[in-house]
Every structure is written in structure tokens, then in C-alpha cells.
């Protein structure tokens, strides 16, 4: 027990003070928020602490920023917003964090207890609204419950499969006093995630790995969340198993490793999708078999025995039937697997056993490598490739959603976890800029780049003000095709080129927009300008928008039409 915490023991404190004390206990030093009437007492108290508060320009951005901060710092992200519209504006951010299993505590103000249910000014039932998109949520009914609930919220958010937890605090409870006392540990009798895998199941997996002739690891966001990259890499190398990643799993295995096949699924690489269909063992780690991954589930990995490791039992056998289910933390499970393999007798002919499979993969790689032709118009892939080269693959990349997201995923090769942040599950446009702000807060020394589209950047472009205000020099690469590109691509391919409501030719001048906010604005309209603009933007100490006018009708390839087997790829 640190002496600092002891000072606060057994003291009369207001609800607002208790909130600050628990935030301190939980090691929170940064929160993202927006004030209002119901949280004015909390803000009054917050201003007396040394907790940094980032004032966003829209509450949705507060949640995305906390999401980016949580991913980059590996801590729980915290938001503070007021009741009513402040609370409803957080819903998209919460839903995105929920789908991507990002640990957040979202604190919303509520109208005073005696007004709840009266349709009071700025009253909304945010606990009711967010019930299906939070890991758990609370309405605090009595000041005596506040500290316990806040501690539970942090514990639930960060443990098991992480996720957002919302705590709704009525205004009167922030003002009244109670005795605040230290509580050693939080215990919930009905919440007990399984971290340790079943030993017998593990032994089966070892056997399957050793027997397999065409094994493939499929690694997802769970590997990043449980910090299992080292264990995963060891397993892949010792057992000579190639690795494919879900979008959320990019960076969990080094993107430049010879065994890395790239992303799987709708816009996955040719090699990944072919290998998935042909493998005889699919070792799925920390994934949930999203429909964008599997395509037609009947045809997915149809020749393979599937091992599925995940901490959330509901992910297992939800979309895909598996041979060996393994409920447990990815890191602990992979560690045990590595140990068992080390202890067991080595398979001496392993390289020969895998040779045919690796040859096959090399052949697919050659046939279906990602490619594009850089003509006289800027190609988006070229911009991302040059960005990768100029940042030496070291930048934290956030994305918006759509084509920009897929080109970022395909052409920036992530060698480390926590360097790629995207709204994977919810697919939430407007995520990238606030998430970049959060990531930059967590990692001031890193280059943080939001790869955006001209459509999606407009969903939260007001956050340029936040970035400039706090001196967070995030870089925004706009792949500007003056279209809502991904929808347009679907319209081109599946709707006879009827471009209903996807033409975004009427957009602001992004260079002037940047300047209006006090940021740097740069534009490239020819391929020759790409590198100079990237160099100028990346080397600027300020927030910078780099507006690249790309080929308007460039599509993301490969593409698997929705619901088709993932081997049915459109390649050009």
C-alpha cells in the first residue's frame, strides 16, 4: 500500500472527489472529455488534480481518442462526458471499442437522482441505450456504491476479453459527501474469466501441429490484446507454420517475416486466402471468424482441422465449427504450447515435412502478389508504400474506414503490435483522427499517421482543433478520390456503375481547412509530388494534412464478393 493512497483513506469526500481518488488508484493520468451541466462538479474537481484532460470537439471523438490511447498505452482509456447528448454522442465510439475489445471506462453525467425518469433537461437513459454495446454498465444509485462501482468498472474493462464499461453518475451524487475508504480487491462472484487452457486439449493441439503437413496460423486481435506476439512468433518459427492475420491482428506477427502471408478475407492476399482453403490445420488464435474473414463459411478452411484459441467462449463455435476449442488467454495458451513442444521429442524431419507446403505458398505468392501500376495519376497504394518507406515502418498508423483502411492494411507492413489501429469490427468512419490524437498522447515520441479518405476525414475533422490545441503533431494522409470510394467500388462491381450518392466532389479544400485550424496543409496532384509532400508533412513539427489526389476509380484488390468463398477473388 503506497503512502499516497493511505492519505485518502477514511475521509469524508464528495462523489467528484471519490471519482478522482479512484482514477488515481487505477493509475489514470489522461482522460478525454467534454464538459456540461451534469458533470460540472466533476470538472471542478478534475481541474484541481494533475490528471491531464484533453478537450475534444465532439464526444464521439473522446471515445475514439481514448480507444487509440488505450491501444497505444496498453492502459484503460477513460472518457468523461455530460448527460443527454454528451452521453448519446459516445455511443458510436463505445460500440466500436466493444467490437474491437478495447478496454475503456466511459463516465457519463446524469441528471440529479430525483429527476431521473422525469424527462428532465438533457436526460437520457444511457445505461439502457448502451446495454448491448458495453461489456457492462452501471447507473450509480447511491453515493455509497460509487467507489465500488468505479473499481469494478476498471477491473471488468481490462480483464478477460477487454471492453468498454460505462458508469452513469447522477449530478447530486457528485456533490454529496460520504466516507471514502480503501477497498483491497474487487470481487464479482459471477465474473471469472478463464485464463488457463485445458491441459488435455493442449496436448491434442501439439499432436495436431506435429501431424500436420499444411499448417497455418490465423492470428487476430486477441494476440495483440494479450501481448502474445513473442509467443506466437516462437511457435510459428519452431513449428515452421506460416501466419495469416485478420485486420485486427496485423502486427501481431512481423509483417516482413518470410512466414507472414498478409491479411486474410475479403481484401486479404491471394496467398492467405488460398492457403486457408488448402491448409490441413488452421490454428486460429484470438480471432472470432468475422464474415469479412470467412466469406462463405461452408467453404472456409474446408480441408482443415481447426483449433480455436480464445478467451471468450462465445467466440468459439459461433460462426465456424472447430476440432479443438481452447478457452484461455492467448499468451498463456501459446506459452504452454511452446513449452509442451519444447519438452516433447522434436520432430526431426520437420523442414522436409513442410517443404512442399512452403513451395506451394511461394508459388501462390508469385502468382498473386499485391500489385498496382503507378501511371501518370497518383495511385493510393503508391502513397501508402512511400509512407511505409519514409517512416521505415515505425509509425503508428490509424485509419478511417473504407478503401483507405484496406490500402493501409495491405501496403503498410506492420512488424510490431500496437502500431495499427482501426475500427475493425464496427467499421466506423471518423475513427482515425481522434484515435491518432489518443495514440499521440500515449506515445509523444512516435510518428502517428491517420490514413484517411476524403469522405471519412470529414466525419471528425473538427478534431484538428484538438490536435493543434494540445500540440499533438499527428499527420493525416488523405487518399482523396472525391468519392465514398468503397461504396463506389461495390457500385462499380455489383450495381452496374450506378454511383448513387457516392460522389463527394463537393468537399472542402483540405489545405485551407488545415490552415484554418492552424495546421499545415499540403497537396500532391502528380506522382512526382508524392514523396516531397510526404517528406514535408512528416518532418513538420505541426499537425499536417497531406491531401493526395488519387486515381478516382482505383479499386481495392483482391476482393471477394460478400458471401462468396474466399478463394473466389477478383484480382484486378
Amino acid at each position: 500500500m503506497s503512502p499516497k493512497v493511505n492519505e485518502t483513506a477514511e475521509k469524508q469526500m464528495t462523489g467528484a472527489q471519490i471519482l478522482m481518488a479512484v482514477l488515481k488508484e487505477e493509475g489514470v493520468d489522461t482522460i478525454f472529455g467534454f464538459p456540461g451541466g451534469a458533470v460540472i462538479d466533476i470538472y471542478d474537481e478534475l481541474a484541481r488534480t494533475d490528471i491531464r484532460h484533453i478537450l475534444v470537439r465532439h464526444e464521439q471523438a473522446a471515445v475514439h481518442a481514448a480507444d487509440g490511447y488505450a491501444r497505444a498505452s496498453r492502459k484503460v482509456g477513460v472518457c468523461l462526458v455530460t448527460s443527454g447528448p454528451g452521453a448519446t454522442n459516445t455511443v458510436t465510439g463505445i460500440a466500436s471499442a466493444f467490437m474491437d475489445s478495447i478496454p475503456l471506462v466511459v463516465i457519463t453525467g446524469q441528471v440529479p437522482t430525483h429527476l431521473i425518469g422525469n424527462d428532465a433537461f438533457q436526460e437520457v437513459d444511457i445505461v439502457g441505450i448502451t446495454r448491448p454495446c458495453t461489456k457492462h454498465n452501471y447507473l450509480v444509485k447511491s453515493i455509497g456504491d460509487l467507489a465500488r462501482i468505479l473499481r469494478e468498472a476498471f477491473m471488468i474493462a481490462r480483464s478477460g476479453r477487454p471492453g468498454p464499461v460505462l458508469v452513469d453518475i447522477p449530478k447530486d451524487l457528485t456533490q454529496v459527501q460520504t466516507v471514502f475508504s480503501l477497498q483491497e480487491t474487487v470481487h464479482l462472484k459471477s465474473y471469472n474469466p478463464t485464463y488457463r487452457p485445458n491441459k488435455r486439449q493442449l496436448e491434442k493441439v501439439v499432436q495436431l501441429i506435429q501431424d500436420a503437413r499444411r499448417p497455418l496460423i490465423f492470428a487476430g486481435g486477441g494476440v495483440i490484446l494479450s501481448r502474445a506476439s513473442g509467443e506466437l512468433t516462437e511457435l510459428a518459427h519452431t513449428c515452421i507454420m506460416p501466419v495469416t492475420n485478420s485486420l485486427m491482428g496485423l502486427g501481431s506477427f512481423p509483417g516482413t517475416d518470410p512466414l507472414c502471408l498478409g491479411m486474410i478475407g475479403m481484401h486479404g492476399t491471394y496467398t492467405s486466402n488460398m492457403a486457408t482453403s488448402a491448409c490441413d490445420l488452421l490454428l486460429a488464435v484470438g480471432v472470432r471468424f468475422d464474415d469479412r474473414v470467412t466469406g462463405k463459411t461452408d467453404a472456409f478452411a474446408s480441408q482443415a482441422k481447426i483449433v480455436h484459441i480464445d478467451i471468450d467462449p462465445t467466440s468459439i463455435r459461433k460462426n465456424v465449427l472447430v476440432t479443438v476449442p481452447l478457452v484461455g488467454d492467448c499468451r498463456i495458451t501459446l506459452k504452454h504450447l511452446n513449452e509442451l513442444i519444447r519438452q516433447g521429442k522434436p520432430v526431426d524431419d520437420l523442414p522436409e515435412k513442410r517443404a512442399e507446403w512452403l513451395d506451394q505458398i511461394a508459388a501462390w505468392r508469385q502468382k498473386g502478389a499485391l500489385n498496382y501500376d503507378q501511371t501518370h495519376i497518383i495511385k493510393p497504394q503508391y502513397v501508402v508504400e512511400k509512407l511505409y518507406e519514409l517512416t521505415r515502418g515505425q509509425a503508428i498508423i490509424t485509419t478511417e474506414v473504407g478503401q483507405n483502411q484496406m490500402w493501409a492494411a495491405q501496403y503498410y507492413r506492420f512488424d510490431r503490435p500496437d502500431h495499427f489501429m482501426t475500427s475493425g469490427g464496427l467499421g466506423c468512419m471518423g475513427y482515425g483522427l481522434p484515435a491518432a490524437i489518443g495514440a499521440q498522447m500515449a506515445c509523444p515520441q512516435k510518428t502517428v499517421v491517420d490514413i484517411a479518405g476524403d469522405g471519412s476525414i470529414q466525419m471528425n475533422s473538427q478534431e484538428l482543433a484538438t490536435a493543434v490545441q494540445y500540440g499533438l503533431p499527428v499527420k493525416i494522409v488523405i487518399l482523396n478520390n472525391r468519392y465514398l470510394g468503397m461504396v463506389r467500388q461495390w457500385q462499380e462491381l455489383f450495381y452496374d456503375k450506378r454511383y448513387a450518392c457516392t460522389d463527394m466532389a463537393h468537399a472542402p479544400d483540405f489545405v485551407k481547412l488545415a490552415e484554418a485550424y492552424g495546421a499545415v496543409g499540403l497537396r500532391a496532384t502528380t506522382p512526382a509530388e508524392v514523396i516531397p509532400v510526404l517528406e514535408a508533412g512528416l518532418s513538420s513539427p505541426n499537425v499536417a494534412i497531406m491531401d493526395f489526389w488519387i486515381d478516382r476509380e482505383e479499386c481495392v484488390y483482391p476482393m471477394v464478393p460478400a458471401g462468396a468463398p474466399i478463394t473466389e477473388m477478383l484480382l484486378v
Binding site: V127, P132, H136, S190, Y191, D312, P313, T314, R317
Partner: protein
């Protein structure tokens, strides 16, 4: 499709708190699971309630339902009840049209099914009937031609049998 799936009785102990029922029912509606009936009441421990829920689902769905319920923080324990290991009962109050020529027959039916007559008037009887779902269906089928004015059913409640 849905009617072809077998029925499952799910029993769970939950925190006796506001909003817990809505977490359970919201989970079912949000994920497209169906609820045939649902009963909630306090147990001997006032902090804990028991929810008994009947759903129609195939084997994979019922597995997913059980897992999803377990994932809810306020749910302490979930079990799927195999019929032969549990006792199940449902109660119905049935208001039957009772014309003079039918009154004797209604009483006979009530007797066969060991119902109680809990309200009687010139034009009606209200019957209290308790039993498993099949028994209720059987008596309702007999009463239907006579004329059921209105009905209130509790839905199934169930308990695992104790070891003999």
C-alpha cells in the same frame, strides 16, 4: 424454421437488481434468439432472483445462448435443463364461457385435470390449472370448443430434481 427447433428450458440465478431482466431479454432480441416464456422471481436470498426461460433453438444455438448468458456480468449461474432431470410446471388461469348446458361438462373437465374453480358467475367459470406444458395444451384443447373468454399463463418454472 423456428417452430421445428426443440424447446429448451434454461434456468439461471441472477443478481436481483433493476435492469438485469432487460439485459437477458435484450440479449435474446439483439441476437435473434427466441423466448417462448420467461418467469422471474426472488429466491430465498433476496439478492438473487431465478429466471426460468423457455426457448426454441437448435443445438448450436442453445450452446451459444448458454455462453452468451454466462458472459453477462449479473448472471451468477446458467443451466440448460434436460427434461428428465427436472420438474417443470406451468399455471394458467382460464376464463371459460359457461352456458347452462355446458356447466356440468366444464366441471367434469376441471375434475379430470384437477383444476380449481376460483371464480364462478352466471356466464363464466375461472379455472386454475397447473401442470406441465402438455397438460395445459390438453385441457385448453378440450375447453376451446366450449369457449375460452380469456387466459393468463405463467410460463414454465422448473427445478432440477435432487438426487434420490
Amino acid at each position: 424454421m423456428q417452430t421445428e427447433d426443440p424447446k429448451h428450458v434454461i434456468t439461471m440465478l441472477v443478481d436481483n437488481q433493476p435492469g438485469v431482466l432487460s439485459r437477458v431479454s435484450g440479449l435474446f432480441s439483439g441476437r435473434g434468439f427466441n423466448i417462448d416464456s420467461l418467469c422471474v422471481a426472488e429466491t430465498m436470498d433476496p439478492q438473487v432472483s431465478r429466471i426460468t426461460l423457455v426457448t426454441r433453438a437448435n443445438a448450436l444455438m442453445v450452446e451459444q445462448i448458454e455462453k452468451q448468458l454466462n458472459k453477462l456480468i449479473n448472471i451468477i449461474k446458467v443451466r440448460i435443463m434436460e427434461k428428465n432431470r427436472a420438474v417443470q410446471r406451468e399455471m394458467a388461469l382460464v376464463c371459460v364461457r359457461a352456458k347452462p348446458e355446458n356447466r356440468a361438462e366444464i366441471l367434469r373437465i376441471a375434475d379430470i385435470f384437477r383444476c380449481k374453480i376460483i371464480d364462478a358467475g352466471l356466464e363464466h367459470y375461472i379455472l386454475e390449472v397447473t401442470g406441465d406444458a402438455e397438460k395445459l395444451t390438453a385441457i385448453l384443447n378440450l375447453l376451446k370448443p366450449i369457449g375460452i373468454k380469456k387466459i393468463a399463463r405463467t410460463g414454465t418454472v422448473a427445478l432440477f430434481r435432487e438426487p434420490k
